[in-house]
């Protein structure tokens, strides 16, 4: 193909312009908007963490049930539900423990459950 046209004669010129001070104004508009609505937490990461923690809890409970089933009846001193949960929790990694604590501290539903249980204990 005959190549008379030479790109270098035009370079990066374009037939477009912007108003004076446009880019400064653009930056301020963006900063104002992001300050008004800060970045959200990474939802996918949070879900992955929650699934991992849930799996860890399930694995610990399964392990507990297997151990409990295989223990002689007379030696089975762990009968209280709270102890079961505590044992399962203690088998989690520190990271998973921290995550669960963080999640449940923010969980309004759990707050309500705890309040109800405290109320029942007091009466």
């Amino acid at each position: 193909m005959e190549q008379n046209f030479d790109f270098s004669k035009i370079g990066k010129q374009m037939p477009y312009t912007v108003p004076d001070g446009f880019f400064d104004e653009l930056e301020e508009n963006v900063m104002r908007e992001v300050k008004a609505q800060p970045a959200k937490k990474n939802k996918a990461k949070t879900i992955r963490m929650a699934i991992r923690a849930a799996l860890a809890v399930a694995a610990c409970l399964a392990l507990f049930l297997v151990v409990k089933k295989n223990l002689p009846q007379g030696n089975n001193t762990i009968t209280d539900d709270f102890d079961n949960v505590e044992l399962a929790f203690s088998n989690l990694s520190t990271e998973d423990q921290d995550y669960l604590l963080e999640v449940y501290q923010e969980e309004q539903f759990m707050d309500n459950v705890l309040n109800e249980s405290n109320y029942e204990e007091s009466i």
């Binding site: 193909m1 005959e2 190549q3 008379n4 046209f5 790109f7 004669k9 035009i10 990066k12 010129q13 374009m14 037939p15 477009y16 312009t17 912007v18 108003p19 446009f22 880019f23 653009l26 930056e27 508009n29 963006v30 900063m31 908007e33 992001v34 300050k35 609505q37 800060p38 970045a39 959200k40 937490k41 990474n42 996918a44 990461k45």
Partner: protein
């Protein structure tokens, strides 16, 4: 100009300060990239603003692997396609859609039609299919590597090279023609 690694580190340490560094480096290239696709200044302004808001909100989704610049241009390209789609009554245009914007002679403060060759080049680019247009713009104006362009357009380096080659051929043919 600040290095991308420094920008990423700065955002992790202080989101606002880091983001100002990012904007200092990318606000003009991103605006012009979008403007070349959507043509209208008002549309380019909207899409550029939305692009940076999205970058800020989804920064944690950048894995650290692959070009940060390509990640930014990909978000910008999607915003431009979203806006073009909205203008055509669709949710978003895809790169398979053959229509982008057209350069029309308008009495507008933000166009400069004084150089006929410059206007003609832009018309030639806008007449290209979307994938060729993107390959040409990102290579010619933004100096992105073929690998980065492939990441922006969700394609392969070989396809991008082919698109760039075809785009150049078509532009040269158009520029050598008597069409205005």
């Amino acid at each position: 100009m600040t290095d991308n690694k420094d920008i990423i580190q700065a955002i992790r340490e202080n989101a606002e300060q880091g983001f100002r560094l990012l904007m200092a480096k990318y606000k003009e290239p991103i605006y012009w990239h979008i403007r070349r696709l959507v043509v209208s200044h008002d549309d380019a302004q909207d899409a550029t603003q939305e692009t940076f808001v999205r970058i800020f909100r989804s920064f944690e989704q950048y894995s650290g692997e692959g070009s940060f610049q390509a990640w930014i241009f990909r978000i910008a390209t999607n915003e431009a396609l979203r806006l073009l789609g909205r203008n055509q009554g669709k949710t978003m245009l895809s790169l398979e859609d053959n229509v982008t914007a057209t350069l029309t002679m308008r009495a507008d403060d933000y166009y400069d039609y004084s150089n006929v060759e410059v206007v003609k080049l832009q018309k030639a680019i806008l007449a290209l299919p979307a994938k060729q247009q993107l390959a040409f713009n990102l290579r010619y104006y933004d100096d992105l590597s073929y690998k980065e362009i492939a990441a922006v357009t969700d394609s392969t380096e070989a396809t991008v090279k082919a698109n760039y080659h075809f785009a150049k051929e078509k532009i040269i043919k158009y520029m050598n023609s008597n069409d205005i």
